[in-house]
C-alpha cells in the first residue's frame, strides 16, 4: 500500500509575539515545527504500513527550510520525502495550495500508484481545514474528514471503513480506495524516533521539486495569481471603549478583593445573581 501524508511546517504559535507598537509579528527565534495535527495523520499512516506493508511518502509545499520538517517525519519512519518549493508558489491561498499539492500527488502516483492520502484536520497557523478537501476534490478522491479511527482496510477488496466525527455523534463510513483522510487530533500517539530511522533520515535525500518538476505548467493556477482570496489588511483588535474596571481593596487581601468583586457583580447584574443562587447545589 502506498500512502502519501501531506504535512506543513508551521511556526510554534505558542511562541509568536506581536510587537506592541508596530503590530508586526516578531518572527525571530520562533522555532518551526511539524504542524502538530499532521503528526496524527503520519502516525496513522505508519500504523497502516506496519499492518499491511507498503510505503509512506511525506509531502510538503513550502520554503527550502521546510526540508527540516520532512526530515523529522523520516525519523519517525516515513520512507520518502518530497519538498515542493518554488518562488512561483509564494502567496498561495488554500485553493492555489491544493492545486500544487494535487499536481505533486499526481506526479508521485505516476511513479507508484497512491492508495491513500492523509492530512491533519487543519494547521495551527492557518486553521482553515480547507486544503485536504481541496486536494480530494482535485484528484477526485473520496473525502473523509475528521476521522477518529481507521477501523478496517481491505486491500484486496480496496475497501476502507472509518469512524468520522460528525455533529453530535460519530459516523461509521465505508468507502473505496483511493481516498483522502483528514485525521482528528488525539486519536493516536506518535511513536518515538528509532535510532535506525534517525540515521536513515540523516542520510536520506529529500527530493526537491520546483514547479516544473512537480508537473505544473499553468502558472495562473498557483501562488498569488491562482489565489481568489487576498488579504486586504492585518490589524490588532480594538480595545473596548473602556478598559476593565479594576477591583481594589485595602491591603489587597484576597478575601476583600473577592467580596468587593461579588458585591459589584451582583448589584449590577441581579439576574445573574438570581440564576446562580437558584441553581441546584
Amino acid at each position: 500500500m502506498h500512502i502519501v501524508v501531506c504535512i506543513k511546517q508551521v511556526p510554534d504559535s505558542a511562541q509568536i509575539r506581536v510587537h506592541p507598537v508596530t503590530n508586526t509579528i516578531m518572527r525571530q527565534g520562533v522555532p518551526a515545527i511539524v504542524n502538530p495535527y499532521d503528526l496524527f495523520a503520519l502516525e496513522e499512516a505508519l500504523r497502516l504500513k506496519d499492518r499491511h506493508g507498503g510505503r509512506v511518502t511525506v509531502l510538503t509545499m513550502g520554503p527550502p527550510q521546510a526540508e527540516d520538517a520532512l526530515r523529522k517525519c523520516l525519523t519517525f519512519g516515513a520512507d520518502e520525502a518530497i519538498l515542493v518549493t518554488d518562488r512561483a508558489f509564494a502567496g498561495a491561498d488554500t485553493l492555489a495550495t491544493s492545486y500544487a499539492l494535487a499536481a505533486a500527488i499526481r506526479n508521485i502516483d505516476r511513479d507508484a500508484a497512491v492508495d491513500l492520502v492523509f492530512t491533519g484536520k487543519q494547521t495551527i497557523d492557518g486553521d482553515t481545514a480547507q486544503v485536504g478537501p481541496g486536494i480530494a476534490k482535485r484528484l477526485d478522491l473520496q473525502l473523509l474528514t475528521y476521522v477518529s479511527r481507521v477501523e478496517q482496510v481491505d486491500i484486496a477488496q480496496r475497501r476502507l471503513r472509518v469512524q468520522r466525527r460528525a455533529e453530535g455523534g460519530v459516523q461509521v463510513l465505508e468507502t473505496r480506495l483511493p481516498c483522502l483522510i483528514t485525521m482528528l487530533e488525539g486519536t493516536n500517539e506518535m511513536r518515538f524516533a528509532s535510532m535506525d530511522n534517525m540515521f536513515r533520515a540523516a542520510r536520506c535525500a529529500v527530493r526537491i521539486w520546483d514547479r516544473e518538476a512537480a508537473g505544473i505548467s499553468d502558472v495562473s493556477k498557483i501562488g498569488l495569481k491562482g489565489s481568489p482570496t487576498v488579504v486586504s489588511k492585518v490589524f490588532a483588535p480594538q480595545a473596548r471603549a473602556r478598559r476593565a474596571e479594576l477591583i481594589e481593596a485595602e491591603g489587597d487581601a484576597p478575601r476583600d478583593l473577592a467580596l468587593t468583586l461579588i458585591n459589584k457583580l451582583f448589584t449590577r447584574n441581579p439576574k445573574l445573581r438570581d440564576a446562580i443562587v437558584a441553581q441546584p447545589s
Partner: protein, 362 residues
C-alpha cells in the same frame, strides 16, 4: 467606467468585476441539520446574512438539502422566521445522512444555476467538509472561521475578518474577481437573531440528479454522543477558565472548585490544553470553542487574540491576572491584578457564603 448598478468600481487601481460575474446576486446561508434538528449556527448566520443582504439591497436565501421524510419544509419555515426571504430546497433519498459527495453535488448545482454573490456556512465538521469541496469545485475563494463579516464600501464585496498568525492578529480577506464569495463562521460567533413566526418566504425546489449507486461512500452507522459526557461550553451560562498563569497542572483544580460552586462549565486557554492539563473539548478560542456566557471568569489567561475571539461575546468578563499589562484587561469588564492561586480560593469561598446566605434568606 463601470455601469450604474454594477458592484465594482474602477479608480485607485481597483478591480472591476468580470461581466459574467455581475449576474451573481443575493446572499445564501447553508442550513445544516443532523438527526432532524437544524444546527443553531445556521440561524446565527441567517441573522448575519440578513444584515449583509440589507446592505447590498438583495434577497437572503436559506439552502436546505435533505431526504423526503425529514422536516425540510419546516426548516425552510424556520429560516423565514429567523430572517430569510427565500429558500432553495433539494429533496432526495440519497441526502438522508450527510455525505460529502451528494451534498457537494447539490450545493454546487444550486450555485451554478442560481448564482449567489455570497455563500455562508457554519464552521462545523459538516460545514467545513462541504465548504472546502464546493469552493474547490467552483474554483472560488473561501475564508474559514470568520469572526466578522461586512460589506466593503469600496467594491460591495464581502470583507471577511479572521485571526491570523496563530491568533495573534486579525486580518480582513476579500475574494475579488471570483463568485460566490464563500465564508465559514463558527457557532456562537454571531448573535442569535430574534425569531418572528409571522415572517413568510418562498421556496424554490431543485433536483439533485444522483442515485444511490452513483455514490461511493456509505454510512453504515451513526453513534450519537452521550451528551452527559461531553462538555457543553458553547451554550453554558457561566464559565470559569484557567490559563498558563496557574503555573502547575495541580493548580487547575482551583478552577474546578470555583466552577462547582457557581454551577459553571470549565474552560481553558490553548497553552494549558496543549500541555495536557485539560481535555481539548474545553479549549476556548479560535482553535477551540466560541462561547457566549453571561459570566466568564478568566484566571491566569493573558487574553491573546486567539483566546479573545472565542470569548469576547460574554456579557460580563472577570479577569484575574498578576500582570497589569496583560491584554485581557483591555476588554474585560472587571479586572483583579493579583495572584490567581490565592484569589481563586478566596472567590470560591466568598461565592459559597453568598449563595448559602441568599438561600437561607429566601
Amino acid at each position: 467606467m463601470s455601469e450604474p448598478g454594477t458592484p465594482a468600481r474602477k479608480g485607485k487601481g481597483k478591480y472591476e468585476l468580470d461581466e459574467r460575474l455581475q449576474s451573481y446576486k443575493g446572499v445564501w446561508v447553508f442550513v445544516e441539520h443532523e438527526r432532524g434538528a437544524v444546527h443553531p449556527v445556521s440561524w446565527e448566520l441567517i441573522g448575519e446574512g440578513r444584515k449583509l443582504a440589507d446592505q447590498l439591497g438583495v434577497p437572503l436565501s436559506g439552502v436546505v438539502l435533505g431526504a423526503p421524510g425529514l422536516p425540510t419544509r419546516r426548516f425552510c419555515e424556520e429560516a423565514f422566521f429567523h430572517g430569510a426571504d427565500h429558500c432553495y430546497l433539494i429533496e432526495d433519498a440519497v441526502l438522508a445522512n450527510y455525505r460529502n459527495e451528494p451534498f457537494t453535488r447539490g450545493l454546487t448545482s444550486l450555485v451554478e444555476t442560481f448564482k449567489p454573490e455570497i455563500l455562508l456556512l457554519g464552521a462545523t465538521t459538516q460545514g467545513r467538509d462541504l465548504a472546502g469541496s464546493v469552493a474547490t469545485t467552483l474554483k472560488t475563494g473561501l475564508t474559514a472561521d470568520c469572526t466578522g463579516l461586512a460589506i466593503d464600501p469600496e467594491n460591495r464585496g464581502l470583507a471577511a475578518s479572521r485571526p491570523t498568525f496563530g491568533g495573534s492578529l486579525l486580518c480582513t480577506i476579500l475574494t475579488l474577481n471570483y463568485r460566490p464569495q464563500m465564508a465559514t463562521v463558527r457557532p456562537r460567533v454571531m448573535a442569535m437573531p430574534d425569531r418572528d413566526a409571522s415572517r413568510r418566504g418562498t421556496i424554490t425546489e431543485h433536483p439533485l440528479g444522483m442515485i444511490e449507486t452513483d455514490i461511493v461512500t456509505k454510512v453504515l452507522e451513526y453513534i450519537p454522543d452521550n451528551r452527559q459526557d461531553t462538555p457543553q461550553l458553547p451554550f453554558a451560562d457561566i464559565i470559569v477558565a484557567g490559563g498558563r498563569g496557574l503555573k502547575k497542572p495541580e493548580n487547575f483544580q482551583l478552577v474546578w472548585d470555583l466552577a462547582m460552586v457557581l454551577g459553571a462549565e470549565v474552560g481553558a486557554s490553548r497553552p494549558v490544553v496543549q500541555a495536557g492539563w485539560v481535555e481539548a473539548d474545553r479549549q476556548v478560542g479560535q482553535s477551540g470553542k466560541t462561547v457566549r456566557p453571561k459570566l466568564y471568569i478568566a484566571a491566569g489567561i493573558s487574553g491573546a487574540v486567539q483566546h479573545r475571539v472565542g470569548m469576547e461575546g460574554a456579557d460580563v468578563i472577570v479577569a484575574i491576572n498578576n500582570d497589569a499589562g496583560a491584554p485581557i484587561f483591555d476588554f474585560a469588564t472587571y479586572g483583579i491584578v493579583g495572584n490567581a492561586m490565592t484569589l481563586l480560593p478566596a472567590l470560591t469561598e466568598a461565592f459559597r457564603q453568598h449563595i448559602a446566605m441568599a438561600r437561607v434568606a429566601s
